[in-house]
Amino acid sequence: MFTAFLIKYAEIGIKGKNRYLFEDALVHQIRNALKKCEGEFSIHKSQGRIHVEAAGEFDAEETVERLKKVFGISGICPVVYAEDEGFGKLCDTVVGYIGRVYPDRNKTFKVHARRARKDYPKESMEINADLGEAVLRAYPEMSVDVHEPDILLNIEIRDKIYIYSETIPGPGGMPVGTGGKAMLLLSGGIDSPVAGYMIAKRGVKLDAVYFHAPPYTSDRAKAKVVDLARIVAGYTGPIWLHVINFTDIQLYIYEKCPHEELTIIMRRYMMRIAEHIAEETGCLGLITGESIGQVASQTMSSLAATNEVCTLPVYRPLIGFDKKEIVEVSEKIGTFETSILPYEDCCTIFVAKHPVTKPNVKVIRRHERNLEEKIEELVKTALETKELIVVE
């Protein structure tokens, strides 16, 4: 029945001179998202709106599901197009529309007509009144409420007549790519995919880095991270996933540094390596899934100790979230089920029974000097042997 969607966007509307940049990015993202959808679509912007029109056969539900994942969209209105064949015919079309869309008609409504084409024989107020009357005559169980109607029936008179009344909420945010690019430290747990999602929602394109530690972590653990990246890529578009073989660095730290500080020192090297790749690939910041106090390496002192090794800003969108709240988002975006698959990641394998919770940065720095002999070489090798997986 519907042949088009009217896309509403929120914040782009208030941008100034560069507004067209945001709109173009949104059109681009919508086009990408619909590539994998059955059917042909034409996407164009006009008068502060984006229209998605289907040419011929298409799957409305699948299309809406895809659009619901495009950041920048605040609402999706399924639209029926009608030819202008006189007002009588329009009344029939609108009555038919209500009949199909609302099986339960014990509802209040309001007609909201607009004329983009001023040569239309009736004025907006007249259209409202006359269409309202036609609807009431067809469905006596309905009533008019001009202040808080259950159904706001929009009629737009353009070259064709657009009829729509439903708005499906979109994800909000800003079109991906308008905010630059950042490097996500992706572990395979619950938090990091959510962190990536949240930053991407603000229009940021994602790269990701995963630290693989064979034989301590399995290829299944790596495959799981690729799966997670793929789910996040459903929202953000293609993600470049950089896989770093971290085993030798980890073992070297294990050998040379106090065991309670292993996780902190390891994380400091992860940040250094992530920053290095970030700078190479043009990322403007790092993203982690840390939340204050969740584990020993995420206390304020530990965060300070891991934070000091890099100069790029580190974005931690979950910093004030409880685990429960993070889980809720991960369930909503569809990463939870994959995140909880039981494969060990490299942060947990050598973890001490009682890791430091209040690391002293000076002490950590001193212990890191134990690594001086080989660490640079090991980091260099890790960067040189990095594997790149483009996840779509």
Partner: protein, 390 residues
């Protein structure tokens, strides 16, 4: 070098089997239920399958049912017999170390109101006949005991258990899950008091997705899958002709060199055990007391606990050298909880998560065994150096 030592999970298909199956799938692809010639051709393969297994097991053709694998065979034996013999009683007996296909089916029957007794095992994984005798009641409908344990290779005293069951109550049915044992030991149901026997194709170099259930002719059983009435109305569904023929072919080939192969497998096991013993801090599970060379256990399974190394890490470390083994057993390896079998035989807690299973096949060579041992000698000391300190 690729060394596949996970043959208890699944095996490489014999080339002759693959060839026969390709011929059937591409040429003789008819449905045996069809009336035309194409159907008759296909039916010949079914007959071949039935004849082959009847001959190898020394049973009648009509006592062989083909299923989708070991799991379905076990389900059918337990659920089908419990339902068909409900009037005789509602008690079943099994062991605590069965494969999940039996254990979880028993749990399902418990949820339907049946009573199930789980027999304990000794430190070698074997049940005690006295305990079995004590567990038998006049209402015991069925006793199910596995032939070969899939995790530690323990051989259960099925022949003695069968005799005991029949002596105590000729009406009690005796089921044997021989998924791991078939092809490695000669099993003759009629001589061993076995009423129902499960076997699977892919454990003996046949295809996945096919298994068999021997059902003695006097056994009352109900179908658990309903449909077009194939296989005497006991197991509906279009016959898996290529699978059945491939399974039969694999069994035929195995039985051709049966004695030599089993002798060779025991030789490999002996060689491997000898080599493993040179490592410090290892424990071999399931061997019989005073039989260090593995006599009286399955020829193809070795379970080793390596103190101080997590099994998954050792598994992936060996994988780096092309050696494929299993942590515990493949069916349990992807679940985080430790294996029921290892717990039941009293493996100490720190070793539960440090146990690796090696399982051999007719393709395994001495060279591969030595290569694996060398890899273990090299890797285990390094892995031990980097373990979680507590």
């Amino acid at each position: 070098m690729e060394v596949y030592l996970d043959n208890s999970a699944t095996t490489r298909v014999f080339p002759e089997v693959a060839e026969l199956m390709t011929k059937i799938m591409c040429g003789d692809y008819g449905n045996p239920s069809s009336l035309h010639r194409k159907g008759m051709e296909a039916e010949q393969y079914l007959r071949y399958g039935r004849e082959t297994f009847a001959r190898l097991l020394k049973v009648n053709e009509k006592e062989i049912l083909f299923t989708s694998g070991g799991t379905e065979s076990d389900n059918m034996a337990l659920v089908g017999c419990a339902a068909a013999n409900r009037r005789r009683g509602n008690h079943l007996i099994t062991t605590g170390i069965e494969h999940p296909a039996v254990l979880n089916t028993m749990r399902y029957l418990e949820s339907l109101g049946y009573m199930v007794t789980y027999l304990s095992v000794d430190s070698c994984g074997r049940i005690s006949l006295e305990e079995l005798q004590r567990a038998m009641t006049p209402g015991t409908v069925l006793v199910s005991v596995m032939h070969t344990n899939n995790e530690i290779g323990a051989l259960e005293p099925v022949e003695e258990a069968g005799a005991l069951v029949k002596r105590m109550n000729p009406n009690t049915l005796f089921h044997v899950d021989a998924v791991q044992g078939f092809g490695k030991a000669k099993i003759y149901p009629k001589r061993m008091g076995i009423d129902l026997l499960s076997a699977s194709g892919h454990k003996i170099h046949g295809p996945k997705g096919v298994g068999l259930l021997y059902v003695g002719e006097k056994v009352k059983i109900q179908p658990i899958i309903h449909g077009g009435g194939q296989q005497m109305n006991l197991r509906s569904g279009t016959d898996n002709v290529p699978g059945i023929a491939g399974f039969a072919k694999a069994a035929e080939l195995l039985y051709e060199h049966y004695d030599d192969d089993v002798r060779r497998l025991y030789g490999l096991k002996r060689r491997f055990l000898e080599g493993v013993r040179k490592l410090e801090g290892v424990k071999i599970n399931g061997l019989l007391p005073g039989r260090p060379e593995g006599e009286g256990t399955a020829p193809h399974i070795v379970s080793v606990s390596v103190a101080g190394v997590r099994s998954e890490v050792l598994l992936h470390a060996l994988e780096e050298d092309g050696i494929y083994v299993s942590a515990g057993s493949a069916c349990a390896a992807r679940k985080p909880q430790p294996s029921v079998t290892l717990k039941a035989i009293g493996v100490e807690k720190p070793l539960l998560d440090s146990t690796i299973r090696f399982s051999f096949s007719v393709y395994t060579t001495e060279e591969e065994i030595d290569y694996t041992l060398r890899a273990m000698y090299g890797k285990i000391p390094i892995l031990r150096k980097y373990t979680r300190r507590s």
